[in-house]
Amino acid sequence: MTAVRGRLGKAERDPVFERYRKAFLFAGPNEGRTTAYPRVAVYTGSGASHSWIWFADLMERIGLYDITFIVESDMSSGGLDGFDFLLVGGGDTYAMAESLGGDGARAILRFVGDGGLYLGSCAGAYLVLTGVDLEPFTPFRLVTGEMRNVMPDPPKPRCLDHKYLARYGEEWVFHPVYGEVEVGPGDAAAGFPCFDAGATIRAPLFGGPIMEGAHKDEVLARFSGLSDRAAFLWPRGDVLRLVDGRAAAVVSSIGEGTVVVSGPHLEHPLFPGANALAAEVLLRHCARKGELGGGRHTPGRGGDKPVGGEEAESLAREIRRQVSNARIVAFGLEKMPVTWRIGLKVWEPEKVRMFLDYAWYRLPFVAKRAALVSPGERLAHLAGGYGEVTQMARSVKARIESGEDSQAEAELLLGTLKELTAAFLSVYFKLRLQERTGLPEKPRTS
């Protein structure tokens, strides 16, 4: 009943992941292993939309469970030390840059300089492009690249007005196509299995940069075609002329570190080919790091107390109850003709259920091991949090139904859900990691 079915389930089971699962399974700090078991930081702070979850999802599919969800304050306070990958997904680039500020930018630079890998998609890509050179972006310039999708006076879109434009100084960043695109290999992808025999891969472009100006050797993937599974805000021929042959993803080495940026969401869960491209970049970085002297990190063992048996079980049941209640309301929300603008980002109501689903489908795993969760208060926090989310979702829905403005409530709901999902996934990945590393299975009873 809890297995993920349909297109998502099919994509998850794609054999493309096997290679990476195996590679990372044998990664680790132990003697004789050539690559370190990577420690991953996923940015979930200000400006991040929901797409950071796709990164977590991808890490799980390739067998990487040592994941920490970080916000802007973690970054500037040395919170990136010891991580191997920093993953920054889509969202509101202005809000990200502003909240990270100079301290955040310096932390990212230091992280990469020390041998870390930065992988940014969509907003996470704009954030570090040299071509994005206005305040507040100036301190972040890491990868050479200009945006092609910027002009002072873009033509009117044919559809999806609300997704079309974002202010960029005196000009506008525009998005002429929204949905699936095809990308082919750039020079930097020579020998990548996902591009075997000149294959192209499909990936979703949801407002990410269309790039040029990077050195040819640094282009990882180029736009090579369009798809019927996309909305065309410009006439299709004009879109093709704009994107064809331009850089979709760029990789650059800085000292021992690597920076990868991608316009399309390589981490999107329905695009296993694109996922394989991202995974290959991570693996190659790890292999290089292995050759360069071994891992940066040894997974730590948790020392906090779980709550133990019955109480843990009852808390897990309460989480399930509340996530189910909230999902039922969220399903109803999806049918409502409403969107919310938070910063520059437009949020649709279906994002509420998306956050909840990521917890829902992982709940049986957590419930079975609830007695191992440490510290045990985390379960109580989740149970209480999801209870609040249910009430918030009901209140948002009631406001919409009665014709009242729901913006403030929706902002609170989505913010709370983002934090709670990160907290839930932290618990989940910690349990996955414990299983992988054979850490104590039996809880110390309180």
Binding site: M1, R317, K397
Partner: protein, 426 residues
């Protein structure tokens, strides 16, 4: 049988306020279908159980796969009685994550049971005690925040344990003609609310989907009540209702929309709604309308009376027969006449025994004998397919039985169904 959610049975102990899941006896290879429920009913007889369940195909893409069941002891017949859980409630029952629920004992305080995605909650119902079925449905949906929740509830008649009490499904009358609504009242169980976001999967999804689509394509699509009428005395019911008829509506996955929505508080020609909150009623069982017509009632007065009975949680079929007044038109007089029925005694109609055997409504459609109708009903409950569809669609029973293999990996034939009921009786 994981595919069809068949697995554990939920046992709700109202007295203790607890719920637990138990495994179904492996001998019931076809899962927790009606015969298995009858056996459980007998085994738990001392707890005065009320059972809700579904059939093998309920909630799937099979045509008319809307059927679930409610089973309990009828205070009128003294024996087990079955009522259909149709419209969208049967499918939602399956989607709620439970194939069968056994509710035993009586609650010390009024409660309602909220089944959602495999979670069972007993919720305080004191704020909705005394409310009619329409307000009960509204209140539960509002509390839980979703309009698609299916609400099986009782009104004042059920709370008063009237012989005429019947549970309603959302706002509309059900086929409970054996006072199972009174059993809910005796249990202090105001409602069972159902909702689930699960997906019902099949053992062989492609085969199952293709076959069901073929059956659906081959099924006739019909509207109104005339096609299920029994004989001359039933004829013309659609024409009688026509001036008020607004639309026809089918149950889950059914190509034949026999339910008729009538408007009498608003012009039925208005397609949407011109602001009237409660424009009318869905007539879900023509027998009540027929009875009132035979008593000389006009369509509007009859529909208002049926609304009042449904809201009070009275079985409109039996209520119409018990009504002591002649034809009425004035809404206030109608309300008073219906109120006088609440709490009154009444007989099951027309056969208590039939109700106990799983008969879908009190009326036999024109095709075949009563024995044949009983046989069809048994197959219908095991399959989860509406029996009216079974006898009128031209789809062979064997074609539907064959679906059980790609659906759930079990082989079921007509002989097997008979054996199941024999075993349940033994």
């Amino acid at each position: 049988m994981d595919f069809m959610y068949y697995g554990d049975i939920l046992i709700v102990d109202l007295e203790a306020g607890t719920t637990e899941e138990v495994e179904i006896d492996e001998a019931w290879r076809a899962g927790p279908v009606l015969p298995a429920a009858l056996e459980l009913f007998r085994r738990h007889a001392q707890d005065n159980p009320l059972l809700l369940g579904s059939g093998i195909l309920t909630g799937t893409t099979a045509p008319a796969s809307c059927l679930g069941f409610v089973l309990g002891a009828s205070q009128i017949t003294g024996g087990p009685a079955v009522a259909p859980l149709d419209m969208f409630a049967g499918a939602e029952m399956k989607l709620s994550g439970f194939s069968m629920v056994l509710i035993k004992g009586n609650s010390p305080d009024p409660v309602y049971l909220w089944l959602h995605d495999g979670v069972a909650d007993l919720v305080d119902a004191s704020p909705i005690t005394g409310k009619d079925t329409w307000r009960t449905c509204d209140a539960i949906r509002e509390e839980m925040g979703e309009q698609l929740i299916q609400v099986v509830s009782i009104g004042p008649a059920g709370e008063a344990k009237s012989d005429l009490a019947s549970f309603s499904i959302n706002y509309w009358g059900s086929g409970d003609n054996a006072a199972l609504g009174a059993l809910m009242g005796a249990k202090n169980l105001k409602a069972v609310a159902l909702r689930g976001l699960g997906m019902i999967d099949a053992e062989d999804p492609e085969e199952f989907y293709n076959r069901t689509m073929d059956l659906l394509r081959g099924s006739p699509s019909k509207k109104g009540f005339d096609w299920v009428s029994r004989g001359p005395e039933d004829e013309g019911i659609d024409a009688w209702l026509k001036p008020l008829a607004h639309r026809h509506r089918s149950c889950f996955a059914c190509p034949c929309a026999c339910n008729t929505f009538v408007k009498y508080n608003e012009d039925p020609a208005v397609m949407g709604s011109d602001g009237v909150q409660e424009p009318g009623l869905m007539v879900t069982n023509p027998a009540a309308a027929l009875w009132l017509r035979q008593g000389g009632w006009g369509a509007e007065g009859a529909c208002r009376a049926m609304e009042a009975m449904t809201r009070a949680g009275i079985d409109a079929v039996r209520g119409a027969r018990e009504m002591s007044t002649g034809p009425l038109e004035d809404p206030t007089e109608i309300a008073a006449a219906v109120e006088a029925l609440t709490g009154s005694a009444g007989a099951a109609w027309p056969r208590g025994e039939g109700a106990g055997s799983g008969i879908f409504g009190p009326r036999t459609p024109p095709q075949g004998s009563e024995d044949r109708w009983l046989e069809v009903n048994r197959a219908a409950y095991v399959l989860g397919i509406c029996p009216l569809f079974l006898v009128t669609s031209g789809v062979e029973l064997s074609e539907l039985l064959e679906l059980c293999l790609p659906a759930a990996g079990v082989e079921v034939d007509a002989g097997g169904i008979k054996e199941m009921f024999d075993r349940a009786r033994a």
